[in-house]
């Protein structure tokens, strides 16, 4: 299945991609399986979304999909069907900051 991932601007620059990233995923679509596939395809993203040692999501990064904040869901919980089927993207979001 093809999963669509939207990265924040700084990480698109780092990964040298424009627009959405499409990942061909085997098995259940979860946060962990998406991030594993993303980091395998774009090794420069390792450590930027989740800590390389603890595998914890970085504090100022959030995961949204289908108008829901999934950041606090288990990394192994299945993602909503529209994400698994590629109808909706999985959004990696940098927290807003500024005045």
């Amino acid at each position: 299945m093809i999963i669509r991932v939207v990265l924040p601007a700084h990480l698109r620059t780092l990964a040298r991609v424009n627009g959405e990233v499409k990942l061909d995923l085997d098995g259940t679509a979860t946060q962990r399986s998406i991030l594993d596939a993303l980091e395998a395809t774009y090794p420069m993203l390792r450590g930027t979304i989740r800590d390389q040692v603890t595998q914890q999501r970085r504090a100022f990064v959030r995961f949204f999909a289908c108008e829901q904040d999934l950041s606090h869901e288990s990394p192994d919980a299945p993602l909503p069907d529209p994400v698994a089927k590629g109808a909706e993207p999985f959004l990696v979001v940098g927290a807003m900051a500024g005045g």
């Binding site: 700084h10 390389q52 970085r58 940098g94 927290a95």
Partner: protein, 371 residues
């Protein structure tokens, strides 16, 4: 014809400033890694086209970038800094134990002889090394396992290992400095370490002459005389003539002995430079004047260098890694400010000109002299 390349790390990206040996006209490239904090970038003495940069952000963590063409193109290399074993604790600001936690790389020090070998000083304080051009990093855990480490406390900027000096005469000898633990020296390639803080006096800690706990801001060495080191401590400018075994104060006539940077002239080992800052609670220049102070006799006497520098309404700071010298003759001296100016002197400090005036706040300045 010789060339000079100035590598500037700022709060919002890296810049590369290049000139010929006259050091009058400058080409400015950047920002590289725009929007990211670049705490430090430095070139390999063994291959000047090999550069390393520490790139970080509060959102996306730490990256290490490597260039093999003098900064024209870059590639992200390894960024996994995992402490060896189970890290213990150091002291937090309130005196309670706190587990060691990686935050960022403050300083990258390439080997004097091998372009693929680089030392990294990180926060929370530890020393790492790569031998494969930055692809993988291993901690040299002897330092963090020192008996005093559980008592180390952070300075205001964090518990950071910010200075690494490699001794060109003794390849196994390394000096490092940590805020706020002090100076440590290894004579066996980073396996074991000894505190090197005798002679320092810090009234801000319970025992002003403690073996560790001093907020050392920067130490500097001249290649020809590695047993002589100069130090800008939180307060006090110091020197040692015996490889750190004992220090003595050389603040002398400086208008204030608080500051961050200190560096040594490329050809005159007794000529040193500091930028006095008003105080630790103000962190800006005294009297609104940007003055570099130079001593030509190892700290006995100091002279203010002001030609070309603003002498009114100037309230910037010059951070610890933000001064460097080239090795041309006359020696060039460079520093960057928190106001985004990078100043250059092509006559050993007698006169100054800004290379750029409006960069983001400057964190680090390094210089490469290219033949």
């Amino acid at each position: 014809m010789s060339q000079v390349r100035v590598l500037v790390g700022t709060r919002k990206g890296a810049f590369v400033l290049a000139s010929d040996g006259k050091r009058k006209r400058w080409d400015v490239s950047g920002p590289h890694f725009g929007g990211w904090e670049i705490y430090h970038l430095k070139g390999s003495p063994a291959d000047p086209n090999r550069l390393y940069a520490s790139q970080s952000s509060a959102w996306f963590g730490q990256l290490i970038q490597r260039s093999s063409d003098g900064g024209k193109t870059w590639e992200a290399v390894g960024n996994k800094f995992a402490y060896e074993g189970t890290p213990g604790t150091h002291l937090w600001y309130d005196g309670t134990p706190r587990p060691w936690e990686f935050t960022r790389v403050w300083h990258l020090e390439p080997s004097l002889t091998d372009p693929d070998t680089v030392y990294a000083g990180i926060q929370d304080a530890a020393l790492f090394r790569t031998g494969d051009g930055g692809q993988t990093w291993q901690e040299l855990p002897g330092l963090r396992n020192h008996a005093s480490a559980s008592s180390w406390q952070p300075g205001a900027g964090g518990l950071c290992l910010h200075t690494i000096l490699l001794d060109p005469a003794h390849p196994e000898r390394i000096f490092i400095a940590i805020s706020a633990a002090g100076v440590f020296r290894s004579d066996d390639g980073a396996k074991t370490w000894r505190p090197m803080n005798r002679g320092l006096r810090s009234e801000q800690i319970p025992n002003p002459t403690a073996e560790v706990g001093h907020c050392v801001h920067r130490i500097a060495m001249h290649r020809s005389r590695p047993n002589v080191l100069f130090m800008q401590k939180h307060w006090d400018v110091m020197r040692t003539d015996d490889g750190g075994e004992s220090w003595r104060e050389i603040s002398g006539s400086l208008p204030t002995d608080f500051g961050f940077v200190i560096d040594v002239h490329a050809h005159e080992p007794e000529t040193i430079y500091v930028v006095p800052i008003k105080s630790d609670s103000e962190h800006y220049l005294p009297d609104g004047k940007l003055r570099v102070y130079r001593s030509r006799n190892g700290g006995k006497e100091w002279e203010a260098l002001t030609k070309g520098l603003p002498q009114s309404h100037c309230y910037v700071n010059v951070l610890r890694d933000a001064m460097a010298v080239d090795s041309l003759d006359p020696c060039g001296v460079y520093f960057g400010t928190t106001g985004g100016q990078v100043y250059a002197s092509a006559d050993a400090g007698d006169s100054w000109e800004p290379i750029v005036r409006d960069l983001p706040s400057v964190v680090s300045v390094e210089v490469q002299t290219l033949s």
